[in-house]
């Protein structure tokens, strides 16, 4: 069968599966809508958490980023997995014992304050929308490249699917579709990785192939060859980075702590029956996540190696089909600087800025560019986000593998989008409407509000997907920085420091949030020219500043609570209760 037919078939089948599950698991009560009734077995919750967590960024972008940044990419690998250790040991079991529906629920009750609850809702909404915009964009990219529809149509289709199962099924529908989506996405990630690992190193396990010798008979290790080639071309070695140690440290810490403070992940631990299940579930989730996360750096190394081998000194006319396919949608570009008709790849920007085509074809048939010239030997522009999607084609794998990757990318983006939309709608219907403004609303009404807010959230997310703020990729730093500097300390103190009172927690959240927000906005939007190590505070980039924001939050919270009245007795008892795994 044609690759294109296979893609339609795989994507169509996976969508039919998700819709079928949504119909089967329709939610009838708020408890089912918010936390799937609290009856999800820990193993399934682990899978759902993994799908919820691994977004278009993990599936599509991460290996590409590591391919082009080598060791520096470790911040994502350690940051986005190490956070689960914090979640499992410091938060999940206690929040499950507390046993409400949302993260602002905990903040509001523990700090006996509507103000604290509302601040938590604001943090949650900012974090979640930032994230969801990127997911809808990811859906659009996959559709436009693989289904040959326009990006906007892709976003509409994605919105329709998410709308259907998030609005109908709530957490219950989302949980079981996420289980299916995990299976699709992990299979789609591993199959090409295993094929490519065998082709390059002869070892079918990518994690081992990563450290093996090349299958070309040279006896040289893959990483050694890659380091050598990259250094020759003027890049940093794959196993070395270019970021400073303190920045790597701060970014890793911000991503870890941010992970532990992300509302859509935390809320998944409310769906299991018991405290002991919450502990186990975090462990299962990390296993399911690690399968992809330990494969990703191997895929990254294979992709960089394959890319250089295929492209370097190849005549443009002799390049494989994929090179021209991606060039045609503007994610690859080539300017023949030395006029030899061959592609030269080296360090440095090939031209100024992102490619802008003038609509004409050059001598070899390439798309001509209007960008300003740069003074280096590099002739190739390649968007990092395409490496995972293009890799099966680069390696010449069969059509069904390419179709599988398309379905996997969509599963990753849709599962995360649905999880995020759910926490947004829950916090509006439950925390704002029910707990803050209209406390006497009936369960039936609350469920209706939840469905309406889910619908509104889908539409807003779709809007951002179609009209992406030009900075989607940049704002991702927001989500983690804000979660690390606002929500995490409030949760941590709420459990481990009985004396923490509402004054301390609120002051901490506000200063942490304001500081982090201001720092990111300052460097990303106000003075983007000064966004470099020479101007950063202690050499820490906006991506890592959430770590400093968290420290500031904690210092302020501890100081303020020291000078204000301790929390009332019933709150101190509440803290004792959540530390005790069974009912007293």
């Amino acid at each position: 069968m044609e690759t294109q037919t296979l893609i339609y078939l795989f994507v169509g089948l996976s969508f039919a599966l998700y819709i079928g599950i949504a119909i089967w698991s329709r939610a009838n009560t708020t408890k089912e809508f918010y936390v799937a009734g609290g009856h999800v077995p820990p193993l399934l919750n682990g899978m759902a958490t993994a799908a919820d967590w691994m977004s278009a960024a993990s599936f599509i972008s991460m290996a590409g980023i590591i391919a082009f940044s080598g060791y520096d990419g470790s911040v994502y690998l350690m940051g986005w997995t190490g956070g689960y250790v914090m979640l499992a040991l410091l938060l999940a079991p206690y929040l499950r014992k507390f046993g409400q529906f949302t993260v602002p629920d905990f903040v509001g009750e523990r700090y006996y304050s509507k103000a604290a609850r509302v601040i938590a809702v604001i943090c949650l909404i900012v974090i979640s929308f930032t994230y969801v915009a990127g997911q809808m964009r990811g859906v659009g990219i996959v559709f436009s490249r693989f289904l040959e529809v326009d990006i906007n149509t892709g976003v509409f289709i994605g919105m329709g699917i998410v709308f259907f199962y998030a609005v109908m099924g709530g957490m219950k529908g989302i949980t079981y579709t996420q289980v299916a989506q995990y299976c699709v996405l992990i299979f789609a990630y591993l199959v090409p990785a295993i094929f490519i690992s065998m082709m390059i190193t002869g070892n079918p396990i990518p994690q081992l192939g990563f450290g093996s010798t090349l299958a070309d008979g040279s006896g040289v290790h893959l990483l050694e060859r890659l380091d050598g080639t990259l250094t020759e071309l003027g890049f940093a070695a794959f196993t070395d980075g270019t970021k400073s140690k303190i920045d790597v440290f701060a970014i890793t810490a911000a991503l870890m702590i941010g992970t532990a403070g992300l509302p859509h992940v935390i809320v998944r631990f409310f769906t299991v029956p018991k405290v002991s299940d919450a502990r186990k579930s975090a462990g299962y989730a990390l296993i399911f996540i690690a399968i992809l996360y330990t494969t990703a750096p191997a895929v990254a190394a294979f992709a960089r190696y394959n890319f250089i081998e295929t492209v370097q000194d190849t005549e443009y006319q002799a390049t494989p089909e994929w090179f021209k396919n991606w060039e045609s949608i503007g994610l690859i570009a080539w300017r023949d600087k030395n006029g030899d008709g061959k592609i030269q790849y080296a360090a440095g920007a090939p031209f100024v800025g992102g490619p802008s085509f003038n609509g004409d074809a050059g001598q070899a048939g390439e798309r001509l560019l209007t960008n300003g010239a740069t003074d280096n030997a590099n002739e190739v522009y390649v968007d990092r986000d395409i490496m995972v999607l293009a890799h099966p084609e680069i390696a010449g794998l069969p059509g069904w593998v390419i179709a599988l990757v398309a379905a996997g990318g969509l599963a990753a983006a849709l599962s995360t989008a649905a999880g995020l939309l759910l926490v947004i709608s829950t916090s509006v219907s439950h925390d704002l409407i029910k707990k803050t403004f209209v406390s006497d609303t009936s369960e039936k009404n609350e469920l209706r509000y939840a469905r309406i807010s889910a619908a509104v959230a889908v539409v807003i997310a779709g809007y951002f997907g179609i009209n992406p703020p030009g900075f989607v990729a940049q704002v991702v730093a927001f989500a983690f920085g804000l979660a690390a500097s606002s929500i995490f300390p409030a949760l941590f103190f709420g459990i481990f420091f009985k004396r923490m009172n509402k004054e301390g927690a609120i002051a901490g959240m506000l200063t942490g949030l304001t500081f982090t927000f201001a720092y990111i906005v300052y460097f990303k939007f106000i003075v983007p020219d000064m966004n470099n190590a020479a101007h950063w505070l202690m050499g820490i980039s906006p991506e890592g500043i959430g770590f400093i924001g968290m420290i500031i939050n904690m210092i302020v919270a501890l100081t303020v609570s020291h000078f204000t009245a301790p929390p009332p007795d019933h709150i101190q008892h509440l803290v004792e209760d959540i530390r005790w795994p069974v009912t007293r």
């Binding site: 470790s74 689960y84 440290f249 990390l286 005790w580």
Partner: protein, 107 residues
């Protein structure tokens, strides 16, 4: 969320404290390992460890991109097992526990 009964005996109080202390000690130990394998081996001491080559990997690089993740998984399961033992020791097995959302509905 029921308030703790006012007639908590001194023994029960001691139990509560001992359980929490043991819990903190366990979590503290595991978090120390968590810090060492990621921020330690993967970042702070990566250059020193990179002088050691195991198979095709420089050791520091391996910790940063592979090893730390495997150890994270082990840490969570050690925690699950050790907490289960601790719960049994204090008679806190939650096997017979009612689902707390069902309890909430009864309130």
């Amino acid at each position: 969320m029921s308030d703790a009964p006012s007639d908590v005996t001194a023994a029960a109080k001691r139990d509560t404290n001992a359980y929490w202390k043991a819990n903190l000690k366990l979590v503290g130990g595991l978090m120390a390992v968590w810090f060492l394998v990621s921020f330690g081996a993967g970042i702070l001491f990566v250059d020193a460890l990179n002088t050691i080559q195991i198979g095709g990997f420089k050791l520091g690089f391996w910790f940063a991109q592979q090893g730390s993740i495997f150890i994270f998984i082990a840490l969570i399961f050690i925690y699950v097992y050790a907490m289960h033992r601790l719960d049994l020791k204090y008679g806190l097995d939650d096997k017979g526990e009612p689902d707390s959302y069902d309890v909430m509905e009864g309130e």
